[in-house]
């Protein structure tokens, strides 16, 4: 505990760096997965290659990816950009299949109704399919957020600052509280971000609130058989 008290500024700095590394990939993978996931759901011959690519990408361990990626994008191994791009790729590997599934799971009758009402293509996608797929997209995004926040720490072994530095420093200098603080803070950060996403979901997807379904009060005649 004393160690933590004495090093609050260091820990705070790592926390900020951690967020700066974690938030861009979470946002970017969500946004980029929308068009790619849409293609994977719609264009039949693209579906299998895109989903297989996502699966293989996700199979690649993070540390080797951090080392290999600079070869492709021309950054240095220790650059923040390198970590952000790598984590965005992981995010995409999770989010593209999730988006494809979410869009495909939209009830075709709802899409049909939207067509019959005279929605045009783009408008139908943005105002009907996307919001209706929202809950499933959110579930995917939550997984991406939690795993990204956890993966950021791996960059510390290469010298990229994040809460992971508490692990490497703690191990090198034999400071157990440092490692424990790192684990607790990483998990706490993941939980906080997850809770924020859930709250955001309630805000923008109000029809999915669990309380919603409970208010149905059918009249006598309308009680389902």
């Amino acid at each position: 505990m004393r160690w933590i008290g004495d090093n609050l500024d260091v820990i705070g700095g790592h926390l900020v760096s951690h967020l700066l590394l974690a938030v861009p990939p979470i946002v970017a993978s969500f946004l980029l997965a929308l068009p790619v996931g849409w293609l994977a759901g719609r264009v039949r011959w693209l579906r299998a290659p895109l989903l297989s690519a996502a699966g293989l990408l996700y199979a690649i361990p993070s540390l080797p990816l951090f080392v290999v990626l600079p070869l492709v994008i021309g950054t240095g191994v220790r650059d923040a950009t390198n970590i952000i791009v790598a984590l965005t790729l992981y995010g995409l590997a999770l989010m593209v299949p999730a988006t494809a599934d979410a869009l495909r799971s939209v009830d075709p009758r709802v899409v049909d109704a939207a067509d019959a009402l005279g929605y045009g293509g783009v408008r139908r996608f943005l105002t009907v399919e996307l919001p209706v797929a929202g809950p499933t997209l959110l579930a995917g995004l939550r997984v991406v957020a939690v795993s990204t926040i956890s993966l950021v720490t791996v960059g510390a072994v290469l010298g990229v600052p994040s809460l992971g530095m508490l692990f490497t420093d703690g191990f090198q200098r034999n400071i157990m509280p440092s490692i424990l603080a790192g684990i607790v803070l990483t998990i706490a950060l993941a939980l906080v971000v997850d809770a924020l996403l859930v709250a955001l979901g309630r805000l923008v997807l109000p029809w999915t609130r669990p309380a919603a379904a409970a208010v149905v009060a059918p009249t006598q005649a309308e009680v389902a058989p």
Partner: protein, 273 residues
Amino acid sequence: MIEFTCVTKQYPDGTVAVDDFSGQFPPHQTTVLLGSSGCGKTTILRMVNRMVEASSGTITIDGENIAQRDVVPLRRSIGYVMQNAGLLPHRRVIDNIATVPLLNGTPKAEAHARAEELMDLVGLDRSMARRYPNQLSGGQQQRVGVARGLAADPNILLMDEPFGAVDPLVRRDLQAELRRIQSELGKTIVFVTHDVEEAFTLGDQIIILANGGQVAQRGTSEEILAHPANDFVAGFIGLAQGERTLHRSPDGGGVLVDGHGRAVGVLAEEPAP
């Protein structure tokens, strides 16, 4: 007036859903397309707002060929009520009803005011306006569906088995409501069903379809009951099975029995209104 002339729908896989269908749907009347599943009745209905494109033949509305119209404005100008209501699950009741006016750029306040009037018309309490579809019972959802179909005040209302998924009691309620609404509004309604009772209850004109959209008979319910065109029609509407041939009960009184001897009602002394 909606008019079909020699309309055929063949799908790319070769299935002919509708084969050379011609027919008129007179204005301000309810025309029911009656037939069992797969007879092409829904296909005919969906060709009116070009949810299905005809392979050949022409369809006109008030003399204008719909193939020449832009589909989106065409669809917005025609009310459509579907089975399971087809409501947008992420929109409140009021916004579901106001969908088409809002799409057409009607100011929100105006569209909502109109939607509230429609809720009154279809017998929905205004307190339900802020609910989501999954908070309503099946019958209430179907009322929202009807209100939505009427929102842009279309001349034409297409109804695709709209009451098929609700239980029989609610269905009767909804049918009665539709008759009341139609007596007020006088829309040109095309109504698809496989339920003979429903067709007789609602239809000014009934078109009975056999497979491939072949017209087995058209006419009023009285004409069809009095002179079924063939065995198929007689069988379909239940004449052949004796359910609709009523006799006075041999036990006297005013009780009527069907061909199987089951009591089905009583004979009133006065002539029908």
